[in-house]
């Protein structure tokens, strides 16, 4: 296999990376809102968020992507397929990340909040200075995992016609008859990215001061 083919795959990896990154970040923002609703004491507020999460965690991403890709034009939104892909990945990762965050907030030890209470912190100060930083540290490994999951899942956006690594390998394979070389190379690219994320994640985690024992 020529270097030129590998270079084409690498170029397509730009799409894989950027679509994943945008989806992770948007998903994180959405997850913050969702987790706040999940932590609400009112059943009425929680119910829709729980339904959303149950749906997006219970339906294959491929099916979600097909649904959103076909739904958007149906409701009159003619957006490029890359937008549909990002919406699909974002909603999916938001559901998972919201659950992580909720778990993180719930596992901030009560005693740490009592200590802040005794020091006169307001509810808002406790949230911003104690709960958020600790919950972020507690959920950081799960966030890294989720980033890796989404990166791998982004291969599915090939079905809505986006030429990222997998789709590029598929297209090139059908014209060059080198499927083994091309799909192995694609796999290698995914591996390198996933391992890099894991490595950076582990390094960052160690650099973060004090996890809760």
């Amino acid at each position: 296999m020529s270097f030129k083919l590998f270079f084409l795959l690498l170029k397509a990896a730009g799409w894989t990376l950027s679509i994943s990154l945008v989806s992770i970040l948007l998903g994180f923002a959405l997850a913050i809102g969702l987790s706040a609703v999940l932590l609400s004491s009112k059943r009425l507020y929680r119910a829709p968020a729980e339904l959303f999460i149950s749906f997006f965690r219970g339906v294959p991403l491929l099916v979600q992507l097909l649904f959103i890709y076909n739904l958007l034009p149906f409701i009159g939104l003619n957006v490029p397929s890359v937008v549909a892909a990002i919406i699909g990945l974002t909603l999916c990762t938001a559901a998972y990340q919201a659950e992580n965050l909720r778990g993180g907030f719930e596992s901030v030890p009560r005693g740490l909040i009592e200590a802040a209470d005794m020091a006169g912190f307001s509810v808002r100060q406790i949230f911003l200075r104690i709960k958020v930083p600790i919950a972020m540290r507690l959920t950081f490994p799960a966030l890294v995992n989720e980033a890796i999951m989404i990166l791998k899942s982004s291969s599915l956006v090939s079905v809505v016609g986006i030429v990222e690594v997998t789709k590029m390998a598929q297209d090139l394979a059908s014209s060059t008859y080198l499927p083994i070389e091309l799909f192995s190379s694609a796999a290698l690219i995914y591996l390198v990215i996933c391992w890099s994320i894991a490595l950076i994640g582990r390094y960052t985690e160690r650099a973060l001061p004090g996890g809760v024992k």
Partner: protein, 222 residues
């Protein structure tokens, strides 16, 4: 966007068949995957350091690459390496190997999570190695690995939808075809989502029931 019950009724046999294929592939892939994964996990734990490292390589490759790429490699690349597989056997093999990689990690974590003191206590009481594995490690592990196993089962069911891309006649393939045929693709996909959702919720519920039953002997974790 109206659901015509007659259309669904007309295609009911196909829908049932597609669901059957999905369930069969899922359960078979998972069963083989659990068996293979358990074998890998025990070999890695008790087979010495070199074996552990060698087996880590395929496990990490399978966990670090998309399922879709794995399927493409086997389905399209297979014939070039003298391995021509139809969609269903290809799908089953890929699902098995993929789930084995993940299950082996679940079991590995399970082994590690049984408190060493429990094993030491059994050793002091004179239980043999096999007895310790059978009477102490496995029952305690069952409880530890149950929740992640149920999670993984749900993930595998969802991954099985990807098999539609290589035309395995499972649920996603079947219902998409009906959608195109009836000019009602969106409705069909929605129905598809609901069916998956129902299966996922049902299996999660089953998992919780099993967990509640097992946890009657829950030990206090360290």
């Amino acid at each position: 966007m109206i659901f015509d019950p007659n259309v669904i009724l007309k295609h009911l046999p196909e829908i049932i068949q597609g669901t059957g294929v999905t369930l069969a592939l899922w359960i078979a892939g998972m069963a083989f995957g659990i068996a293979l994964g358990f074998l890998v996990a025990t070999t890695r734990r008790y087979g010495g350091k070199a074996t552990n490292v060698v087996l880590a390589i395929p496990v990490e490759i399978l966990r670090g690459t998309p399922f879709l790429v794995q399927i493409f490699l086997v389905y399209y690349g297979g014939p070039f390496a003298g391995l021509s597989l139809g969609p269903i056997p290809c799908g089953l093999i890929c699902l098995t190997v993929y789930s084995a990689a993940y299950y082996s990690e679940v079991f590995r974590a399970g082994f590690a999570a049984v408190p060493h003191g429990h094993v030491e206590a059994a050793e002091c009481l004179g239980l043999s190695r096999v007895q310790i594995i059978r009477r102490i490690l496995l029952p305690e592990m069952a409880l530890i690995v149950l929740p992640p196993s149920v999670n993984l089962a749900v993930i595998l069911l969802k991954e099985s939808a990807v098999l539609s891309i290589i035309t395995v006649p499972e649920l996603t393939t079947t219902i998409s075809a009906i959608g195109s045929q009836e000019y009602a693709f969106l409705e069909a996909i929605f129905l598809l989502a609901v069916i998956y959702w129902a299966i996922v919720e049902a299996s999660a519920k089953l998992g919780r029931i099993a967990e509640a039953r097992l946890s009657t002997f829950r030990f206090s974790a360290p």
